[in-house]
């Protein structure tokens, strides 16, 4: 399908670049200075690089980051693919009821999850104490790199699940049915037909989880805090205090290092993908669907799903809820004597906390929808575009993914401070929305492109043949075909925005409060009562939001 280069498409690329490049440029520039970029005394210098490279802690942090990121990918991708196959293709009992629950781990701020684990399975957590009373000993240690890796892996399964499931749903079942007719077992179909067909989604989500591993902040911050367990993001955090005054140049160097890992990964990912045509599976014909039978394995599969939910959702949430309704806990405390609802009534006295709750909802629902509209616009601009621009765009959208949220938030704080025309936006939720949308650009776009990848060119070519314009094709053919992908993206982006905590930390102020950043801000001084109450409110709001979405027909199990 040859056509003239369209100015609309080029404009989309330029608009994306305008949103992404200023914060990136500030960070790179800052990394080669010897002081904050806005101070006249700052000079060009590689001293920050020398300092970081000579620091033993940096190498330790880099090593454990690679270990954690690899480990969590190895946990999340196979299990996520398995769950997607079980829920989308088989007769797993109770799958309709269970599916919304699968997503809960991505609703929860990692700070909240980690906090919940400490209350539940920490050295004096209630599960630990119970276990020790019953069996004499509790053979685990929550504060190790292995625990952080395992928890990170388990909590990132939903990311893999969402990408894989939405691709599987969009995929024709003919091939699987053919295999079934030919006598293949369900396991064999999964391993030799379904999973290979969703390879793009698995690769994307694998790379994504690996990236997220580079950005892990909440879990290592809380679980690794007293043990001195360092990953790159907590190392970056440590650098804020190392020299007494904020050392932006050192933080920028670490951010640049993280991005240096991100770019080759994008390249590898593109290479692995090969020709996208191999994976096209929405063809111009109807789709019917009969679930594959698991037989007696149904109950094993159900036990696996419930076991994962128990470990990843029930245990930490029980910890958080427990903490929200007691004044203290731990060894030697009778919980029945310390119950209270005081933490919640206290919130009402603080308008900034109430604004935080309102802003969080606003940025999740409205901001999420707007962000998906932007992502879809960019993805459609690049759709079936054989041009060097499309490649530029592809790398461009991966760039912010490589920036840790904390650093991206700081960079946006500078952008809103020093670029005068947009300065008035700084104290409004709009600044947060822009920062969030850019930080999660790659994330939201991959879901949309994964869906777009499944659309065979012949439907669009048919429309072109009968004389439809490019815009008409997009409106009447492409968008309707990916509508489930779009709804899924909105849901995903909503959840991510509501949970986001690191990006907003530096933008936090009256007008831009969100629950996640408030929790981080309260964490340092220790208003644990408020934190646990806010966490519960966060969880409840998201749960309600999900229910409303389901009622409106955004069916995650479509």
């Amino acid at each position: 399908m040859q056509e003239r280069p369209s100015w609309g498409r080029v404009a989309a690329v330029l608009a994306t670049a305008t949103a992404i490049l200023p914060p990136l440029a500030i960070i790179v520039y800052q990394s080669v200075l010897d002081g904050p970029f806005f101070q006249p005394s700052a000079k060009l210098s590689l001293s920050a690089f020398r300092f970081v490279m000579a620091d033993a802690d940096f190498h330790r942090a880099l090593g454990s980051t690679l270990l954690v990121a690899t480990g969590m990918t190895a946990v999340a991708v196979p299990l996520g693919a398995l769950l997607a196959f079980l829920f989308v293709r088989t007769d797993l009992p109770g799958r309709r009821l269970l599916e919304p629950l699968l997503l809960i781990p991505i609703f929860l701020s990692p700070v909240v999850i980690a906090f919940g684990y400490v209350v539940a399975v920490g050295p004096v957590g209630f599960v630990t104490l119970l276990f020790r009373e019953t069996f004499g000993t509790a053979p685990w240690n929550l504060y190790t790199i292995a625990s952080v890796t395992l928890i990170a892996g388990l909590t990132h399964i939903p990311h893999v699940y969402l990408y894989t499931a939405s691709t599987l749903r969009a995929m024709n079942v003919d091939l699987e049915e053919a295999a079934s007719v030919a006598g293949a077992s369900t396991a064999r179909i999964a391993l030799t037909v379904s999973i290979p067909m969703v390879r793009p989604a698995l690769l994307y989500s694998g790379v994504l989880v690996f990236f997220l591993g580079f950005e892990l902040f909440g879990l290592p911050l809380i679980l690794g805090d007293p043990e001195g367990l360092l990953v790159l993001s907590t190392y970056l955090f440590k650098l804020t205090n190392r020299l007494g005054v904020p050392s932006y140049q050192l933080m920028a160097v670490v951010a640049v290092v993280i991005m240096a890992f991100a770019f080759p990964l994008v390249w590898v990912q593109r290479r692995l993908m090969g020709g996208a045509g191999r994976f096209v599976s929405i063809r111009g014909k109807g789709v019917s669907h009969a679930p594959l039978r698991l037989g007696r394995w149904r109950w094993v599969a159900l036990a696996l799903v419930l076991g994962w939910l128990g470990a990843t959702v029930v245990i930490p949430l029980a910890g958080v809820f427990l903490r929200a309704f007691v004044t203290n806990w731990g060894e030697g405390v009778r919980l029945s004597e310390v119950l209270t609802v005081g933490h919640f009534t206290e919130l009402l006295d603080y308008p900034n906390l109430i604004r935080g709750v309102v802003n969080t909802l606003l940025i999740g629902v409205v901001g999420g929808a707007l962000a998906v509209a932007c992502y879809a616009g960019i993805a459609l601009a690049a759709h079936r575009w054989q041009s060097r621009w499309a490649k530029v765009l592809d790398y461009l959208v991966m760039v912010p993914r490589g920036m840790p949220g904390l650093v991206a938030g700081l960079a946006f704080f500078w952008v809103f401070l020093f670029i005068k025309p947009i300065a008035p936006l700084r104290a409004t939720p709009l600044s947060l929305w822009i920062a969030y949308s850019v930080v999660w650009l790659a994330y939201g776009m991959r879901l949309i492109s994964s869906a777009l990848l499944q659309v065979g060119p012949e439907l669009e070519e048919a429309a072109l043949t009968v004389g439809a314009s490019r815009g008409r094709i997009t409106r009447d053919v492409t968008v309707p075909l990916i509508r489930f992908g779009l709804l899924g993206s909105w849901l995903l982006v909503f959840l991510i925005f509501v949970r986001e905590y690191s990006t907003g930390v530096y933008l936090l102020g009256p007008g831009t409060e969100v629950i996640g950043s408030l929790i981080v801000s309260l964490w340092a001084t220790g208003a644990m009562d408020t934190i646990s109450a806010l966490s519960v409110i966060n969880v409840v709001l998201v749960g309600l939001g999900l229910l409303v979405a389901l009622q409106l027909g955004v069916r995650v199990n479509e």
């Binding site: 806005f38 101070q39 007293p226 205090n241 005054v245 203290n328 405390v333 220790g526 934190i531």
Partner: protein, 357 residues
Amino acid sequence: MRQIKASLFLIVLARAALAGDRPATAQEVIAAAEQEGKLVIYSTTDTIFVGPLLKDFNSLYPKISVQYDDLNSTELYNRVIAEVAAGNGSGDLLWSSAMDLQLKLANDAYAQAYLSPEATHLPSWASWRNEVYATTYEPIVFVYNKRLLKAEDVPHSHACLAKSLSADPAKWRGKVASYDPERSGIGFLLITQDSRLDPDFAATARAYGAAGVKLYTSIGAMLERIQSGEHLLGFNIFASYATARQWKDPSIGIVYPKDYSLVMSRIALIPRAAKHPNAAKAFLDYLLSRRGQELLARSALFSLHDEVEGEMTASALMKKRGGNFKPLPVGPSLLVYLDQAKRLDFLRRWQRALGTK
């Protein structure tokens, strides 16, 4: 008749008390402040602690609307220097527990001078160049878990703590918590002061290391885990936060070390870039006034005003616990360890003593 006389007397007394309770801010400053109509405070003190204070300030000056930004200490510093560089104004009053960073702002000419009429009630160490004012008197203490640590095992001085740690490292292994001087600016400030005041600091640090001390960035996490029994004891902890926690949970025990108790303070200053400098002056006066200090004391932030009475005051502390309180003087001596080389060198020695490197 006597009754009427008595009640008249009471009314007069009450009015006198009320009038005396107004901060001594000059009329023209108040007029200008009300003209400005707004006040932006950047603070590291949780809103939870200052709610009553802000409400009362508002009832005194209803024409000044207060915006209270609750930030952490490095963020606060970051934000101010970046905003000043952008040339678009900044907060009107900066109120932070990172004493060294506040002094650095003043030393680097970010602060403006204002001689507060309330400063006469402050001790001499509590202000510098009429630019920086200490507003609280918060001892640094040991905190322990009363349920799990027997009264006879509670150490009452740094030396005693070091001794019991070395005597039975197995019992204390992983059970002691403190700030991580590498990752927390406040923690660094406190441990460098310890090294100055504790004649046997090297031995004390070795004892901490032998007990496998757990080092935190968050005071909240520390208190939470001492409360739960994961740790038995924490050192270098603000008495203010510990007391606020103790009011809610009596299983928190507090020790004012007998050999010496450091005293930290929340430092207030008015930046040159303030857009509402008069409102900031009115608030600073209020913060230092008897009326403001009484409310601070009620929120567990200890008062240093010489006329405020009650348990949470500098005078009551000294009367009850003896004279071993060592307030950090507000002045350039706080800047010593902001020197990069000195700081890194201290950290290296600390890690070596601890045996972690």
